[in-house]
Amino acid sequence: MKSKHDDEIKALLMYKQIPPVDEEEKRELVHKLKAYMPVSQAAPSKIMQQLIQKAFTSIYRDHKIELFVLLTFLLLAYSFMPASDVWIVIMSTSPIPIFLAGWHLLNGQSNDMVELELTYKYTFHQVLFSKIIAIVAWNLGIYSVALLYLLGIKNMDISLYFFHIVILGLTPIITFSLALLLLSIKYRRETSWTVVILTWIFFVLLSLQTPLGTFLIEVNVLFYVLLNGSLVLFLLHRLQHLWRTERLSDGIL
């Protein structure tokens, strides 16, 4: 039932008086806003492609000597490793490119740098996204070359054992890609990455000196396939999230 107050309240609330607005303020605002005019951007997929390509080539341009030394080291290690230690050499050396690239990435990524990058044409997250993809691609590339070399020099057959070793070597690459991504977003401190590398060295030592190594190699290959699959899915999910992360975070988007 409508009371007599309903109309009264609505009539009262409809009543409005606009406070005077300073026209000069509006002109000043328009002038100020010119500095914030959006730069017209290409389609996201095109930007993504451009950025990844750029990150990929810049790794080669800036670190070609390191890459060459690393590849030589890997090929030498693969040439002279004892047959019994093939798996541990492959597993322990496979994530080295990611360790080096990760160190470079986090070393130049202080909060000041992030502030600076936020003023660039691309967002910090877009740049980070492309760098991570490029680093993983480089790591997988180097790993593939080393494996092909292994097939050539050791006359290893493409058997289940070889497949097992390949999968085992992929596990740290994917794990550390994910760790690098999470650490770059959350901590942005090179000490965290150094701690990860240090613990990896002790993991390798543990695998050599304790039954842990045998235990790991004896785990069914399907477990590693599943583990890697889940890690890849999680990595892709985080990367997708990173790409979509907006520049502003005050709840207006």
């Binding site: 009371s3 107050h5 309903d6 009264e8 309240i9 609505k10 009262l12 609330l13 409809m14 009543y15 409005k16 008086q17 606009i18 406070p19 005077p20 607005v21 300073d22 303020e25 509006k26 605002l29 328009v30 100020k32 806003l33 010119k34 914030y36 005019m37 959006p38 730069v39 017209s40 951007q41 907006e246 520049r247 502003l248 005050d250 709840g251 207006i252 988007l253």
Partner: protein, 174 residues
């Protein structure tokens, strides 16, 4: 395609005139809204400026769905709430309007002060919902978008606000 989206597209192409038009179209009501929900006159000017800057920065990510007005009001609502939280106090509506009320002319003063008093007596979320509905002509679903709540919550805020106002009016009569 409504006029807002035409302007938005033009701004995204770098058209400064379109930006100017958009500012002139919304400046008054955004400023008025911010002032009404509790920011004093001078602060409301600053917050309005921030709203437009944030709007422009976020425009490339704006998903065009014909709700530009609700979107910019949402920015205004969030900016104002952030401002209130940071300044650790919420200015009452009466304080916010004080400077303007002094300039009021004759017969309008009575109504104006009654509205202020009534809205002042409500919790801020309810008064904000009523301001959006009756002063700015938003529907309940648009209010929900602006305030970032569900439709039933927005409706409930309007309903509860009106109910309390009715009670106040009855009390005054008695």
């Amino acid at each position: 395609m409504n006029e807002d989206s035409v302007l938005v597209r033009a701004i995204l192409q770098g058209d400064e005139e379109a930006m100017e038009q958009l500012v002139y179209r919304y400046y008054d009501e955004i400023f008025y809204y911010i002032n009404q929900i509790g920011a004093p006159y001078e602060e409301a000017k600053d917050i309005t400026q921030e709203v437009f800057i944030s709007m422009l920065k976020a425009l490339p990510k704006y998903k065009e769905q014909g709700h530009f007005k609700a979107w910019i009001y949402r920015i205004a609502y969030n900016k104002s709430m952030n401002h209130f939280r940071q300044s650790k106090y919420v200015t009452t509506l009466s304080e916010a309007h004080e400077e303007v009320a002094e300039d009021d002319i004759g017969g309008t003063v009575e109504n104006q002060s009654l509205v202020k008093e009534l809205l002042d007596s409500l919790p801020q979320k309810q008064s904000s919902a009523l301001i959006l509905k009756y002063f700015h002509g938003f529907t309940a679903s648009e209010i929900a978008k602006v305030m970032g709540v569900s439709l039933p919550t927005a409706k409930s805020r309007i309903f509860q606000g009106l109910k309390k106002l009715k009670k106040r009016l009855k009390e005054d009569e008695n």
